[in-house]
Amino acid sequence: MKLEIRDTPGQLVAALKPISDLGGNIKSVIHERDPLNDSGFLDVRILLEMPEGKIRTLTDSLKEQGVNVLRINEERLLIRKSVILIGHLLHTDLSDTVDKIDNTGFAEVGELSMIMPSLNEPTSAKMTIISENLTNLERAMNILKDIAEEKNILIVEPLEDF
């Protein structure tokens, strides 16, 4: 997310402290002189990552500290997980599997690439599932696992914590 504040003396320090206190990660701090702004102060743009759900707490504590918050631009990061599927994917109707995940409303299939083997050999495919948060990604993965078990498809998952 992007946080823009007015840099009156002391404000930058006051703004940075609650960010790190809440487990946020500051990516960059950019001072920008606004040509339309003749107040003599600098506007500061801070690019940072915050754990989900902590943004409201952050703005509250910034306000408490009297930091002049100009704008908050919140960008939701999407979480993705790619798995490899092996099985008779076409016979078992792959598009049905994709639909089941897309229809959940909380996750979708982002990419799907496939390599076709010789006739009657199992097909291998790489499927990327995208969701807004970890919980929903796991829910989607469980749906995929159920389908895989039912249709006798092997799922090769990534080793977590790369």
Binding site: I86, P117, P122, K126, V156
Partner: protein, 328 residues
């Protein structure tokens, strides 16, 4: 310290060779294979026993049985290196119990009895004030048990995961490097002696699962059986699947995993970055231990082989003779 060796195959002979070639402070007083045995309480000549075994198929005289040796030979520690039986642990289980209950230390590379009956065996050992050690059962030459019991003492282990089966790792390495099919790679592994005639235990993930059970029960105090491990082997992996992974600088490895916080054990093929520490080549093993104080510790080394496995046995024996041998 005097030792008696039960089982004179690849590992048993590896031990005898090391004892013959370097100063270990060990004296071999008895050896048995499946059909014969020999005893000399003043010490056998290890190279002569190896020669006899290689020339005649027998290490000694018929009728000198493991039970006879356990009860009658003069030794401080029994080295139990007979074949693994994952279902019952026998006959090794009986040999180990007999030796422990007559007050002898036991060192083994045999996974069966340790995976199935560790509680009972360590109980007998404690009662008799002797040592029961099994470093060689998990990851061959890698000192994983020693590291967990002593090196990382005081740490809480959160997770432990890695490559526990050299045969599967060899097959997956060859499938990735040479675009071999699973069947071709398995055939090659067999020709090189890395895979058994019946490779089921390795490729179905059972061997890796047994090693997880051993670590879970002996180090983490769990009460797991083989049936408690979620197991997927590598038999249905395709070369296309590896090709898909490689397109993103990833590859596939068979990973065994203990989640000590959730108490779960799992063996499954996993997608993993090609430059990951656990992506080792050929028959190597590699294990990462995630701890609260030391952070991550990764051990990499040879998971099998005659001399490599014997190295772990010799290490256990040295530990016993340095720290616990009452006769010295």
């Amino acid at each position: 310290m005097k030792i008696a060796i039960l089982g004179f195959g690849s590992v048993g002979r590896g031990i005898a060779r090391i004892v013959a070639e370097r100063e270990t402070g060990l004296v071999i007083t008895a050896v048995a294979d499946s059909k014969s045995g020999c005893i000399d309480n003043n010490g056998l000549n290890p190279l002569e026993v190896i020669r006899a075994k290689e020339e005649t198929g027998l290490c000694g005289k018929k009728g000198v049985t493991p039970e006879y040796i356990i009860k009658n030979a003069d030794y401080d520690a029994l080295v139990e290196v007979t074949p693994t039986n994952a279902e019952t642990g026998e006959p090794s289980l009986g040999f180990i119990k007999l030796a422990l209950s007559t007050g002898k230390h036991v060192v083994t590379s045999n996974k069966g009895p340790v995976a199935l009956n560790y509680d009972e065996l360590s109980h007998i050992a404690r009662e008799k004030e002797v040592q029961f050690k099994y470093e060689a059962t998990v990851c061959g030459a890698i000192p994983i048990i020693q590291t967990l019991q002593y090196g990382l003492a005081g740490n809480k282990v959160k997770k432990l995961y890695g490559v526990f089966n050299g045969t599967c790792n060899y097959i997956l390495t060859r499938m990735a490097d040479e675009r071999l099919t699973y069947k071709q790679a398995l055939l090659e592994a067999r020709e090189l002696g890395y895979a058994e005639a019946d490779p089921k235990y390795d490729v179905e993930g059972i061997d890796a699962a047994i090693k997880l059970v051993i670590l879970a029960n002996t180090i983490f105090g769990m009460k797991k059986r083989l049936e408690d491990v979620e197991i997927t082997g590598i038999c249905s992996l395709t070369s296309e699947a590896i090709e898909l992974a490689e397109a993103d600088e990833l590859t596939i490895r068979l990973i065994g995993e203990i989640d000590n916080e959730r108490g779960t054990l799992r063996v499954s093929p996993r997608v993993i970055p090609k430059d990951h520490t656990l992506v080792v080549q050929d028959t190597l093993n590699a294990v990462t231990i995630e701890t609260d104080l030391a952070g991550e510790v990764t051990l990499i080394g040879r998971g099998a082989g005659s001399i490599e496995t014997a190295s772990a046995i010799i290490s256990d024996l040295s530990f016993i003779s340095n720290c616990h041998d009452r006769s010295s």
